[in-house]
């Protein structure tokens, strides 16, 4: 499969080169065939001596470990476009997709602009729910929130997006009944919608819903406001309820970020996350405190730019409300209510 992908990449590159030779003058804003992606690696040290915090990625303790190599190709011609994005490595494989093989598709979809305001998209796409994403270039913090880890990563389906104006648009679609899987379990029965509002310039809010008899229901608010060129404030709030036997979660995370120089930005993620109680017979499991418990996660992160490379030092302290709801253990493996870790990551984007 990897060989096939490389051959495809070479063929696409050759096609692009040939096209360029025929028409070397590009005067409009149409994009050429674009290759994009990232490579990431990290070192983590949990102060207990073993991994404690169960959120996604940065999972290996006291180890220089790899995230993934992410390779995407995209092209738009007229009203038609495609995106194909594959990842290789733990972050993009078993840490993202439970039934992963040798690779993981991040995005694979085609899109067509039916009119200047209405577009149709079909395929396997990054989810419209939530603030954080799988790609390390899409997140400010390297470790992820509980809201991200327990929410959907990707949805396969068909969606229509209509732009009422440059300040309001609506997406509505029908998606497979299970998240993070290439195929449906039974049917295509999850309804998803996203209302996008831009109240003022540089402030965008997304009101999201995904609901279905198999997938359960998640309501989500994701918003970000670039208040000045140096200061940005983001917020994510969500609640999820499975279809049967209770369980689920609710939480809120705040993301203030301040650029202190042209290469250094400091950011905080302050998250409150509560695990809902479950009924007898429930098989629902989440990454976080035990049912009925809550956790506050505080993550202080710096992004230090060196061209396309970003160094991400990060310290994180998570505190569960009561020890009885905690899955953390201290250095002697005794239950404890808090856990802390240091991460140093490097992400190269291209």
């Amino acid at each position: 499969m990897k060989k096939k992908f490389l051959l495809l990449l070479l063929a696409a590159s050759a096609f692009s080169y040939a096209s360029k030779a025929q028409d070397t003058v590009k005067t409009t804003a149409d994009a050429p065939l674009v290759l994009y992606g990232s490579v990431d690696t990290y070192y983590k040290d949990d102060l207990s001596g073993h991994a404690n915090i169960p959120t996604s990625f940065a999972s290996d303790n006291n180890s220089v470990s790899i995230g993934m190599i992410d390779l995407g190709l995209k092209k738009t011609v007229g009203n038609a476009s495609f995106v194909g994005e594959l990842s290789f490595g733990p972050r993009g494989q078993e840490q993202s997709l439970p039934n992963s093989g040798n690779y993981h598709i991040q995005n694979l979809y085609v899109s067509y602009n039916l009119t200047s305001k209405l577009s149709a998209t079909a395929g396997y796409m990054s989810t419209f729910i939530g603030y954080e994403v799988i790609s390390p270039t899409g997140n400010f913090n390297y470790s992820t929130s509980y809201l991200f880890t327990n929410g959907p990563f990707q949805n396969a389906g068909f969606k229509l997006t209509y732009a009422f104006s440059d300040k309001v648009s609506l997406m509505a679609g029908i998606f497979n009944d299970q998240w993070n899987a290439y195929t449906s379990q039974h049917d295509v029965s999850t309804f998803g919608a996203q209302l996008t509002i831009t109240p003022v310039k540089n402030w965008t809010a997304y009101l999201n819903v995904a609901t279905g008899p198999t997938s359960g229901t998640e309501l989500d608010l994701t918003t970000a406001y670039q208040i000045t060129t140096a200061f940005k404030l983001g917020l994510n709030a969500a609640t999820f309820s499975p279809s049967h036997y209770g369980g689920g979660f609710s939480g809120v995370a705040l993301y203030p970020q301040l650029a202190v120089s042209k290469v250094v930005t400091l950011g905080l993620r302050e998250e409150y996350f509560k695990a809902k109680t479950v009924d007898a017979g429930s098989t629902y499991v989440l990454a976080g405190p035990l049912p009925g418990g809550s956790v506050i996660g505080s993550t202080l992160t710096a992004n230090i730019k060196a061209g396309p490379l970003t160094f991400i030092p990060e310290v994180r302290l998570d505190n569960v409300n009561k020890k009885q709801y905690s899955t953390f253990t201290d250095s002697s493996l005794a239950p404890t209510a808090s856990a802390s870790q240091f991460v140093l990551a490097a992400v190269y984007a291209f």
Binding site: S16, L35, K74, V83, S126, K262
Partner: protein, 184 residues
């Protein structure tokens, strides 16, 4: 070495105007052409080559102004990466026998790749080219300045081609030519 020299020369195509803004400015003598002809040919030039540019409504027949944008690309030719976009304003003015044009107000907006793989502008981050030294890395700024210069030169070269065309706009006629076979 030649490539470096060429790159430096291209970057130097941009000058600083009286408002301390970068500008690409040219005055072109064009004997034999009137303001009306300049205007028609400019309109056709913009419609054909820069259909996405916005043209401002002007009450003066002897000038056309508007805005446009160009993508800032990096990487090898076969697989480009989109760093961002540069928005600019253009001005084209005419007098009998000559015209002038300039591109200015270059403002860079970085792009990021969103969750769907789309390259989209980062809201709230606009960097006028004049402030580039404080906001961008040196290599970035040089690269963008070269791309803007090349684009501006190309804009001017194409405009000149259209100004020299004998008939800028194709003549549209609803009537088809009728051939009569009676007389020959």
């Amino acid at each position: 070495m030649l490539a470096v020299k060429s790159a430096v020369a291209q970057k130097d195509l941009l000058s600083i105007d009286e408002h301390n803004k970068y500008i690409y400015y040219q005055v072109v003598p064009q004997p034999g052409l009137t303001v009306d002809t300049f205007q028609n040919r400019t309109a056709y030039f913009l419609k054909t080559n820069y259909p996405k540019n916005k043209v401002n409504k002007s009450e003066l027949p002897e000038s056309i102004t508007g805005t446009g944008k160009l993508l800032m690309l990096t990487g090898i030719s076969a697989a480009k990466h989109i760093d961002g976009e540069v928005n600019y304003t253009f001005n084209i003015e005419y007098k009998d026998q000559k015209y002038r044009y300039w591109l200015t107000d270059f403002v860079f907006t970085p792009y990021y790749v969103d969750r769907y793989g789309n390259s989209v502008p980062q809201p709230g981050i606009d960097v006028p080219l004049e402030n580039g030294a404080a906001k961008l890395e040196k290599g970035q700024l040089n690269n963008y300045s070269i791309q803007i210069s090349n684009y501006s030169k190309q804009f001017g070269d194409r405009l000149k081609q259209y100004m020299l065309m004998v008939s800028a706009a194709p003549i549209k006629s609803d009537k088809k030519k009728v051939i009569t076979t009676k007389d020959w």
